[in-house]
């Protein structure tokens, strides 16, 4: 209680520090550190306000801001990213930045966590920044699939439309997807429940691999996918049209964005529509339960879908700070292969003559968000508020059918889940006090879940979760190192109502009810802590080490679920007495960078006490159509592995990259692996790119990627192992001048040799269904400008 009062008091007195908002015009220059030549069009960003500007033809810039200690980034293609803290009082001569040339793309960008706001060298954990350009090259069917090419990241998928991210073998409620400062909340407990984010609206993603609970909350013990806010539009009114075509499933998608800024105010509106048909596989039959089943026209029946998303953001940014309001809506209707509910038969898989038809079974998902992001600058730091409300509406529809003696269903809605979440995060970024930079923070969220439909999985529940934390970082200049530490206290509660199922006799008469799930009222609390150290012993070498103790409260599904989850082929049963799981995690990162090379290796070891997972029991489900009961249970477990990344430029235009990742999971009680452990993966990427700017064509690149994925035999009980496979992808792209605008055209071919393979992390693996075959992608981005004013925001 005393801790609570202390934290409350801290936040009451914090605003008192936000005073004396004195205007200041920062002038400076950006030059090449070797030649001393001025750099034109280098981007300067004041992180606290989000204000940006570019250097002029003489390499000079100026930008208006508030007096105090601020944090600036300088970026330029072909140069190592630069960031620095400065005090406006000590900059009488202006801010003069010298950028170091580099051929290595990996260090051209600032790896910038939206919370701790420091560059890569300051971070003790491994973080990766993925830009829109990178996403376009990797572009999968959705955001999760696009990110799956990054070492340490994978995706659990149901077909091509439904996918959820995996970091170092952990997924669901063990990793956190953070958009605009708030955690995405959308029934992420289900392995067949995808991520509800419009991939066209994502410009930059930051991935934190490893424990991040201190700043992001207890669910972030596996890592964070942080979708960063879009950069503010340039002065004027402009927009772009993006389109994407994919050959394999006749995907046609487009996104139109209109954005404008005038002085400090701006707006951005986006609408996206995607439609895709049943996807093709390099097979015309598959074997399931010793039966050979036909895949007619090589298309997996009923895997089509359509999406429609909208978003609108408006805000104002000034020297005192900024405030941005964002509203988004996401709609997806995705068909599921009929064999996912019940046993597939040739009759059920018969071609319906329409590859775009979305029949039953299917998922219909809508996700709405309203978010406020505010930053208020003070002389001694800045206050950051992220607050919002989101609602996830999920329907799983199936052909009405009979359950045992119960009369046949009269509706197609098997599950109807409505999850409403309100969240608030408040952080105070205190400027350095004796070289200590501190961030105290507070977060609160509350949820309410209601249900409907003829099937039952989860009862209605409400929960709340709150946390207070303190993060501190000290730069030890003499030792060329940065030390950080943090502590967090979380508490949360869950309250659910009982659910009763009807009992039918063999005459289809209702004879009574039995309690399927009892009422529950749980309270959890615990402490998390972390220390990290980043050491730069000499130029180009960086060693990071991170130790963390994290904990995660059991989620409502783990406590309360009790029913047939057709999407995962089993009867899933929660345990209302589960305790929180505790993680003891460490990771190490070694980076060696040169002018034309970059090497990184990051081993990690995670020990979980009371790891919660679905354990197959020696009991059959008494529910009609139910097979074995999988019960949420707790065992001690280890996840350990390593990621390697090497990049080399023998000549400026040639990019060679080799990366690999490996995860080993081990359940200390069963002495087996844990479900959905990604297999070893090695990727080699060769890319030729020429930044030479022609009159009409510029930024040309082309290349190929080969991926080897090993077999996976480290599996849990009853989990299928999978065989090794080798894939080759190719890609090319360029920019073309169209009037004053630069049109981007990008082409890629995935699974070029149409290899038939089974993805170990696919839900359809259980049906022995192969993955998508050869797929040609075309991305076209046409920007336009209605009018422009000046470049300075």
């Amino acid at each position: 209680m005393r801790l609570w009062l202390l934290c409350l008091g801290l936040f009451i007195v914090l605003p008192a520090e936000l005073y004396a908002q004195v205007s200041y015009l920062l002038k400076g220059s950006v030059n090449d550190s070797e030649t001393g030549l001025p750099l034109v069009a280098a981007i300067i960003e004041i992180h606290e306000t989000g204000r940006t500007t570019e250097t002029d033809s003489t390499g000079k810039f100026e930008i208006e801001l508030t007096k105090g200690v601020l944090h600036v980034h300088a970026l330029h293609t072909g140069y190592k990213a630069y960031s620095v803290y400065f005090n406006t009082d000590s900059l009488a001569a202006g801010l003069h930045i010298f950028l170091e040339p580099s051929l290595v793309e990996s260090i051209e960008v600032v790896i910038e966590s939206s919370v701790s706001r420091a560059d890569y060298a300051h971070q003790s954990t491994d973080q990766i920044n993925v830009s829109r350009n990178d996403l376009d090259k990797l572009r999968g069917a959705g955001l999760s699939q696009s990110l799956a090419a990054i070492p340490g990241l994978n995706v659990i998928q149901s077909g091509v439309a439904i996918a959820k991210p995996v970091i170092r073998g952990l997924s669901g409620n063990r990793i956190l997807v953070n958009e605009l400062g708030l955690k995405q909340e959308g029934q992420q407990w289900g392995s067949d429940h995808g991520l509800e984010i419009d991939q066209f609206a994502v410009d930059q993603v930051e991935i934190v691999k490893g424990p991040s609970s201190i700043l992001y909350g207890s669910d972030a013990l596996g890592g964070v996918i942080n979708i960063l806010p879009l950069s503010k539009p340039e002065q004027g009114l402009a927009g772009s049209f993006n389109t994407m075509l994919r050959s394999n499933n006749d995907f046609a998608g487009g996104s139109f964005v209109l954005e404008g800024a005038r002085k400090g105010t701006f707006f951005r509106a986006r609408t996206t529509g995607n439609s895709f048909g049943d996807y093709k596989v390099p097979a015309d039959q598959f074997n399931y339960l010793n039966r050979t089943l036909q895949i007619q026209n090589n298309r997996l029946k009923n895997t089509a879908g359509r999406e429609f998303h909208n978003s609108f953001a408006t805000g104002v940014a000034g020297r005192m700070g900024s405030i941005i309001f964002t509203g988004t809506s996401y709609h997806q209707e995705a068909g599921l292969f009929p064999g996912i509910i019940g046993i597939p038969t040739n009759n059920l898989l018969r071609d319906d003559g329409d590859k775009r038809n979305i029949g039953l079974p299917r998922q219909v998902t809508a996700h709405y968000k309203g978010i406020v992001n505010a930053v208020l600058n003070g002389e001694n730091g800045w206050l950051q508020l992220d607050a919002g409300f989101q609602q996830n509406r999920r329907r799983e529809e199936a052909i009405p059918h009979a359950h045992g003696f119960a009369p046949p269903d009269t509706s197609i809605i098997a599950h109807k889940l409505l999850l409403s979440t309100a969240q608030c995060n408040l952080r105070w970024h205190r400027n350095a006090i004796r070289q200590w930079r501190i961030i105290p923070g507070f977060s609160f969220s509350t949820q309410k879940n209601t249900r409907g439909g003829y099937e039952f999985l989860l009862p209605e529940f409400s929960n709340w979760n709150t946390g207070v934390y303190f993060f501190a970082e000290k730069e030890l200049e003499k030792r060329h190192s940065i030390f950080n530490m943090g502590i967090r206290f979380d508490a949360g509660g869950l309250r659910s109502v009982a659910f009763y199922s009807p009992i039918w006799n063999d005459q289809q008469q209702l004879t009574g009810y039995y309690q399927r799930v009892g009422a529950s009222n749980r309270f959890f609390k615990n402490l998390s802590g972390a220390v990290g150290w980043s050491w730069l012993p000499r130029k180009g070498v960086n060693l990071k080490i991170n130790l963390a103790k994290s904990f995660r409260m059991p989620n409502p599904a783990e406590l309360l679920i009790n029913g047939i989850h057709h999407g995962t082929f089993r009867h899933e049963q929660g345990d209302p007495l589960l305790k929180p799981e505790n993680g003891y995690q460490t990771d190490l990162v070694l980076v060696k960078e040169g002018r034309n090379s970059y090497f990184k290796i990051s081993p990690y070891f995670n020990y979980f006490s009371g790891f919660i997972y679905l354990r197959p029991t020696a009991t059959f489900s008494s529910l009609p159509d139910g097979a074995q009961v999988y019960r949420y249970s707790q065992n001690d477990a280890v996840f350990t592995g390593v990621e390697c990344f090497a990049e080399y430029h023998p000549i400026k235009a040639l990019h060679l990259e080799l990366n690999a990742d490996y995860v080993h999971s081990y359940n200390l009680q069963t002495q087996l692996g844990l479900p959905f452990t990604p297999p070893l993966r090695v990727r080699f990427n060769v890319q030729f790119e020429t930044p030479v700017k022609g009159k009409r064509v510029s930024d040309f690149y082309c290349g190929a990627t080969s991926t080897f994925v090993s077999s996976q035999k480290n599996v849990d009980r009853n989990e299928k192992s999978s065989a090794a496979y080798f894939l080759v992808d190719a890609f090319a792209g360029a920019s073309f001048k169209l009037g004053k605008e630069k049109v981007e055209l990008k082409f890629s071919a995935f699974n070029l040799f149409d290899i038939k393979y089974i993805n170990h992390l696919s839900i359809y693996k259980l049906l022995n269904l192969p993955e998508q075959g050869r797929n040609f992608n075309l991305i076209l981005r046409i920007p336009f400008s209605i009018f422009k004013t000046n470049k300075i925001n």
Partner: protein
């Protein structure tokens, strides 16, 4: 002293290197599944007949449970499809479900069920079996199909214009679908209905064909049109004087 240390270290190393006890991940298996003493993937049985189902199961360590379930084919999740009366076009008629979970022990066990097939049903039913051993290793599902013939049900033949291709009729909004058919039953047909139902199971169009107990009722060129695109089922249903039901059905796609 040196030798003692060497021996101790050797013991520790040897102990550490000792193979762990093997984890039991072997799944239990069905030695056989017999229906009426024969082994097949499909069994033709008559409605009203008593059938004997015998299962022999085994496991390397110890069996725990066997689950047997009978429900309409298509896993009980659809009621159409591979019906018996007219093959692909005859939906199942009548309802029949059975489920049983039995505890097992030891490494081998044989279980027998004697069941009577209801006399009012016809079509394809799945008979599914699953095994679990003492630690939760689950066998692959064993599925066999019971093709239930019922000569007492009315026999229905339907034809449509346009005709079905690969089991599905395709029309565009505004087109007329013509349905003709014959129903036969030696006991006499007392009721014939033809209807369209949407994916939700709601009836969106229905024609009641007059039937006066004669052994054959024919009808021709019944018309259906549909203003909403989507998937539908066209069903012809007939009842005889004994209350036995016959069904014929096909898919309709309106685009």
């Amino acid at each position: 002293m040196k030798n003692t240390i060497f021996v101790l270290i050797s013991i520790i190393l040897l102990t550490a290197c000792r193979d762990k006890d093997p984890v039991d991940v072997a799944v239990p298996a069905f030695d056989f599944v017999h229906v009426n003493d024969s082994l097949s993937n499909e069994y033709e049985v008559l409605a009203g007949q008593t059938i004997t189902i015998q299962v022999k199961a085994s496991d390397n360590v110890e069996l725990r449970q066997l689950k047997m379930e009978i429900h309409p084919a298509e896993d009980g999740h659809t009621h159409d499809g591979e019906g018996t009366q007219g093959g692909e076009d005859s939906p199942n008629v009548g309802s029949w479900a059975y489920s049983d979970i039995v505890n097992l022990s030891g490494t081998t066990e044989t279980r027998t069920w004697t069941l009577t097939v209801p006399d009012s049903i016809g079509g394809h039913w799945h008979c599914e079996f699953l095994l679990i051993d003492h630690v939760g290793n689950e066998s692959a599902q064993y599925v066999t199909t019971l093709i239930i013939e019922n000569p007492d049900l009315p026999v229905i033949t339907g034809t449509t214009t346009p005709a079905a291709v690969n089991g599905e009729i395709t029309i565009v909004i505004g087109d007329i679908l013509y349905v003709s058919g014959t129903t036969d039953d030696p006991d006499g047909i007392v009721d014939v209905n033809v209807w369209l139902q949407n994916e939700s199971g709601n009836i969106v169009g229905m024609v009641d064909v007059p039937a006066n107990g004669s052994t054959g009722v024919d009808f021709s060129n019944l018309t259906f049109d549909q203003a909403t695109a989507g998937h539908y089922k066209l069903i012809i249903q007939a009842f005889d004087t004994n209350g036995f039901e016959g069904r014929w059905g096909t898919e309709l796609h309106v685009q």
